[in-house]
């Protein structure tokens, strides 16, 4: 079902370009400001002019800091220590920590959400409707309600001080993704599975060989939503991570802001710019299939 409106021509094209440009500019101004601050030296940061008078790359140098551990100490073979500023943003380390969480949780999130969604979409068992309604309702639970008890559970499991609390829960799927995938699976004609079953396939191989391959657009959407959510999650890392060695990008950024004394805003904006660049690239590459993917999942409730 190809559904692109016809290419615009003539005056209507000019009008739409004008409208799009104005709107995009409105959304871009704060981003431009952010980028400009990231090139300002410290003494210019709070001044009203937008463009830096003496542009500098030093905020970026300060936040990239490859090679040193976050605690600021690196011990080489001879036991000599090399120091960098404690509490400085360490992009490479934080990005790596974030990526570890992204990868470990992504696998679990996709598998578990898809399996549970298949159960809700295809197996007609008693109590299914009620269970699914509860599943949807859990989307409304505000996080603070369960924050402290959840912390206690993770402590009992011995997970505090590790990255586990940040990725292991993804292996239980999430209500939103289960909902999304269930909608998609419902749209796949049943005949496909039935003929596979006639061929002697069990449910699992039906799911694995028929349903999943047909669902790549929907799975891609789930993956992208999940990556975005993990990349920017602040509250989880804030509660469960207590050592700078484990910080994620967003927690490192928050730390830059909350440190005592004055906040190095130019470094903070440099770090934020570096943090969103990969996601911007991801969006530019994937936006078309992303949007088409959402369309196919049919968020029609």
């Amino acid at each position: 079902m190809k559904n692109q409106a016809p290419k615009l021509r003539g005056p209507s094209a000019i009008v739409s370009y004008a409208a799009l440009s104005v709107v995009s500019l409105l959304f871009l101004v704060p981003l431009i400001w952010m980028a400009c601050i990231s090139f300002k030296p410290a003494r210019e940061v709070g001044l009203p002019h937008i463009l830096p008078k003496e542009p500098t790359l030093s905020p970026y140098a300060a936040v990239i800091g490859a090679g040193a551990s976050a605690s600021g100490v690196r011990v080489d073979a001879k036991g000599e220590t090399e120091r960098r500023e404690t509490g400085a943003f360490n992009y490479a380390l934080y990005a790596r920590n974030t990526l570890i969480i992204v990868v470990l949780s992504l696998i679990g999130m996709i598998l578990s959400s898809a399996i549970a969604a298949y159960g809700f979409a295809r197996i007609d068992f008693p109590g299914r409707r009620a269970m699914f309604a509860v599943c949807l309702a859990t989307m409304m639970i505000p996080f603070p309600v369960i924050m402290v008890p959840t912390y206690m559970i993770f402590r009992e499991l011995g997970w505090i001080g590790t990255l586990m609390p940040l990725w292991a829960p993804a292996w239980f799927g999430s209500a939103f993704n289960i909902f999304l995938l269930r909608q998609f699976f419902m749209g796949i004609p049943r005949d496909l599975e039935e003929s596979a079953m006639l061929d002697g396939c069990g449910r699992w191989s039906c799911f694995w060989r028929v349903i999943l391959p047909l669902s790549t657009p929907a799975l891609a959407v789930v993956a992208l939503f999940h990556v975005l959510a993990v990349w920017n999650d602040l509250l989880g890392p804030l509660i469960y991570l207590s050592h700078q060695d484990q910080f994620t990008l967003s927690l490192g950024l928050q730390f830059l802001q909350s440190r005592s004394g004055d906040t190095p805003w130019n470094q903070l904006m440099a770090a934020a710019t570096l943090m969103i660049l990969p996601v911007v690239a991801l969006f530019l590459i994937a936006q078309r299939s992303f949007i088409r993917g959402i369309a196919t999942t049919g968020l029609k409730g």
Partner: protein, 295 residues
């Protein structure tokens, strides 16, 4: 009969990832938080049962009333506004023009800017002396632009304005909804001589209505939980005359600044109830307005 119970086992097995997680990571903590909402619980001492005292206190708590009304006003203004703006932007971004991906990215990227950075940027944007918005207003002849963040009358407006900057996610979902509308419907409408506004009103909007419902629900939930943006923009202060002090911020303060986890849990349960009721209402109202296309 055998078939049905067979199905039960299979169903429970397939949905196990979800209900295991639900029992362990939601139901258990929820039950605990329900329990401590009937307790005095300063976190550092064991919970002490106080019956309905926390809920009774809500009745007299002026700050609670203020945060409820602030949050209700924010939701009442920002949900419809976000919906209209998002649909408008989606229509615009659905136009087939060169550079479409770029324009889409411009609208979407703000949603991924970390809140810490976004809060600071908007504090500068809204600076009444040198911020671009104040400069623009002065250029248009407004002699004394509002104080925005520091004025009890404008702070809420400023927040609603800023929250529109994060409209990217619903826009993307509306865009997806627009893709779904079959071209034949438009052609039929064109054949009938319907003008563009009429086509929007009679074809686009009805076809889009399930997506609107979805987004409205998500944004109602989001509006009632608004926290990060005002928290960053007013830096731990409750805003001028508490004008931008919201429900979740009060909940957070009770839990972690006043060490009243019991009271905070009571607040959280009230919040959950409010959201459930509002979502139910949205569903009820929408019943007549949402059109599901026959499969």
């Amino acid at each position: 009969m055998a078939r049905r119970s067979n199905n039960l086992l299979a169903g429970l097995l397939w949905t196990a990832p979800w209900w295991l997680g639900f029992l362990l990571l939601l139901a258990l903590p929820l039950a605990f938080s329900l329990y401590i909402s009937f307790c005095d619980y300063p976190m550092l001492q064991p919970p002490l049962w106080v019956g309905g005292a926390n809920y009774a206190e809500l009745v007299h708590d002026g700050v609670f009333h203020k945060t409820i009304s602030n949050t209700a006003v924010f939701a009442a203004v920002s949900v419809p506004l976000t919906t209209v703006v998002a649909i408008g932007l989606a229509l615009l971004l659905n136009l087939s023009v060169k550079g479409q991906a770029f324009f889409r990215a411009c609208i979407f990227v703000p949603t991924i800017v970390p809140m810490v950075a976004a809060g600071a940027i908007w504090m500068w944007m809204l600076n009444p002396d040198f911020g671009p918005i104040a400069n623009l207003m002065r250029a248009m002849g407004v002699d004394r632009p509002p104080l925005w963040l520091d004025s009890p009358d404008w702070a809420m407006g400023a927040l609603v304005l800023v929250s529109l900057w994060f409209v990217g996610s619903p826009v993307v979902i509306y865009l997806a909804g627009l893709q779904e509308i079959p071209e034949e419907l438009y052609e039929a409408a064109r054949m009938d001589g319907a003008s563009a506004p009429r086509r929007f009103w009679h074809v686009t909007l009805p076809s889009l209505s399930p997506v609107v419902l979805f987004n409205v629900i998500i944004s109602v939930i989001g509006a009632w939980q608004v926290f990060a943006l005002p928290y960053m923009m007013w830096r731990t202060r409750p805003g001028p005359d508490r004008a931008t002090y919201f429900y979740s911020m009060y909940l957070f303060d009770n839990a972690f600044n006043y060490l009243k986890m019991g009271y905070a849990s009571a607040l959280a349960w009230i919040q959950l109830l409010i959201i459930l009721v509002l979502t139910g209402l949205v569903f009820l109202v929408s019943r007549r307005m949402v059109h599901y296309r026959a499969a």
